[in-house]
């Protein structure tokens, strides 16, 4: 019974959201507001169940050894709430500063390695080697020249004129446009996929007229 009610609620709100395609209406607005409210409510509940209770309240209430140390991050976290009180709002900067500092310290070296150094390494490849298949050679040439051309396009300290900067930046524009085209194609596919997912739900799970 609860599953049936859930299906009907989901179906009606799906239709409500898609009704926006015709024009904005109260059902759409209701669905839009509810999705934000319900998501937030769910997030709070699951954060309490998965984090606050087992990792903070339970250890402190059971008197676990060293559990009092948990009060330090708990108090630091509570300082966020001081933003709502103008007189002591400045205290909320401390947890933010802690998070930013710790986040930078932890993330920066590994992010540099994962997203910059590894990518640089991957673009420093031989264009041709003995025994290399011709399609791999073409792929390597396109990749290396394309990367260089796109970088030249974003080099603004020199006018984009002449063989190196002029032609290079023009090729760079083409490379970037091809990239945008591929992304746009994938985006169309993605949006249609989401529609298909909802139609599968409406026709299958709700109305049972398709498998």
């Amino acid at each position: 019974m609860t599953e049936t009610i859930g299906l009907w609620v989901a179906a009606l709100f799906t239709i409500g959201i898609y009704s926006f395609l015709y024009k904005e209406n109260p059902l759409y607005r209701l669905a839009e507001h509810l999705v934000i409210g319900v998501s937030l409510g769910y997030n709070i509940a699951i954060t309490y169940t998965n984090v606050i209770q087992p990792k903070l309240l339970d250890p402190i209430s059971s008197g676990e050894q060293g559990a009092w140390l948990l009060l330090v991050p708990a108090i630091l976290g509570l300082l966020y709430i001081t933003r709502f009180f103008p007189g002591v709002g400045w205290l909320s900067r401390y947890p933010m500063a802690f998070l930013m500092g710790a986040g930078m310290g932890v993330g920066f070296p590994l992010s540099m390695k994962a997203q910059v150094l590894r990518q640089l390494e991957a673009s420093l490849i031989p264009l041709y080697e003995t025994g290399m298949a011709w399609d791999v050679v073409i792929g390597n040439v396109v990749m290396v020249l394309g990367t260089l051309a796109a970088l030249i396009y974003f080099f603004f300290s020199k006018p984009h004129k002449g063989l190196f900067f002029g032609t290079g930046s023009k090729i760079g524009i083409w490379v970037i446009m091809i990239g945008f085209g591929a992304t746009f194609g994938f985006t169309v596919m993605g949006r249609i996929s989401l529609l298909i997912g909802r139609i599968q739900f409406l026709l299958g799970d709700w109305l049972h007229i398709i498998e």
């Binding site: 395609l21 015709y22 998501s39 769910y42 997030n43 699951i46 954060t47 998965n50 984090v51 087992p54 932890v106 993330g107 590994l110 992010s111 390695k113 994962a114 997203q115 590894r118 990518q119 390494e121 991957a122 990749m143 990239g179 591929a182 992304t183 994938f186 985006t187 169309v188 596919m189 993605g190 249609i192 996929s193 989401l194 529609l195 298909i196 997912g197 909802r198 139609i199 599968q200 026709l203 398709i210 498998e211």
Partner: protein
């Protein structure tokens, strides 16, 4: 207003209606167009195919319902592959709602009303076998069937909670959770979502940290997958596979080029390719939702291409490329 101008000023709601029809009709008249698996999807499949009951993987539901149409089928496909090969799986989530999506995926694969489902054996139900000290997968199944349990006809296999799967769920600041799991999974998830202590689970005995994990499949609707690369791959060399939405796919091909991931499923198409591989290799009798959806997708794409071409014909035939703006509503 001439015909070309009328065409360019058509009410966009007619286009929405046409796309809607194009996305409904093929469900009733499927074309069954072939889907050929790409190298990047086969990379993931081959990697999992090389694993067995002594290995372990993570399937992370790093998306929310907004992208479930794309991410859910690829997560289900990866889980099915692991269950069918008795590979232990840790299930995690980067986002709160991802935990609910993971629960839905497990329910789908263990739904007794469906063909080819996996019979779920709850933690308490096989306590007697654990008490006997049996820990290896084959031994557990042998002891379980010796107790008089028979696999239903329409089931593909057993899934023992705590041995074949540990549903860990969601934790906030998940990138730091990944970092923590490189030292110990139990330090981040002392229990699974049901409250069962991880350290008591057979899956945990040989797979205590990400260093003991052979693949992390992250099905992501946002940048969560990069955290797996940054904190898993680059710190300890954890093999990573991406399942990403189509919108994100082009951004993440670079990680294939650099060899940082074993493969990538891009959008519904990537999920459909994985479903084809599962069907062709006998892991599933039928296709999943993604494969059926791709048939519809093909028709919708043809319609969009037709409309783009038609719009361009109207634009150039009407001479609008020489004018600064169109008449009418635009």
């Amino acid at each position: 207003m001439n015909i070309w101008e009328k065409m360019l000023n058509v009410d966009r709601r007619w286009i929405f209606l046409l796309i809607g029809i194009a996305c409904v009709v093929p469900f009733f008249n499927p074309l069954g167009l072939p889907i050929l698996p790409s190298a990047e999807v086969m990379g993931i499949y081959d990697h999992i195919e090389g694993l067995g009951p002594d290995n372990a993987i993570i399937v992370s539901f790093d998306f929310e319902p907004g992208t479930a149409a794309e991410n859910q089928p690829m997560s289900v496909a990866a889980l099915r592959h692991a269950f069918a090969r008795n590979i232990p799986v840790y299930v995690t989530s980067y986002w709160p709602l991802g935990q609910a999506m993971a629960a839905m995926a497990i329910s789908e694969l263990t739904d007794e009303s469906l063909e080819d489902y996996f019979k779920y054996v709850e933690w308490e139900d096989w306590a007697s076998i654990r008490d006997q000290g049996i820990v290896d997968r084959a031994g557990i199944e042998e002891a379980w069937t010796a107790e008089g349990n028979t696999l239903p006809e329409n089931a593909r296999g057993w899934v023992f909670e705590g041995r074949d799967i540990a549903f860990l769920g969601y934790l906030p600041y998940f990138h730091l959770v990944i970092l923590g799991m490189t030292s110990s999974i139990a330090s981040q998830f002392p229990t699974d979502v049901s409250g069962t202590p991880l350290e008591e689970m057979p899956i945990y005995q040989d797979h205590k940290s990400l260093r003991d994990i052979d693949l992390a499949v992250t099905s992501a609707g946002g940048s969560a997958c990069v955290s797996w690369i940054t904190y898993g791959r680059e710190k300890i060399g954890l093999p990573i596979a991406f399942g990403v939405t189509a919108v994100m796919a082009t951004d993440y091909y670079i990680f294939i080029q650099s060899g940082q991931i074993v493969g990538q499923m891009g959008g519904l198409r990537g999920a459909a390719e994985y479903e084809v591989l599962l069907k062709e290799n006998g892991y599933n009798k039928g296709y999943g939702k993604a494969f059926i959806g791709m048939d519809v997708q093909n028709i919708a794409h043809l319609l969009i291409i037709f409309l783009v071409v038609l719009g361009n014909i109207a634009f150039f035939a009407g001479g609008f490329h020489k004018k600064t703006k169109l008449k009418g509503r635009r």
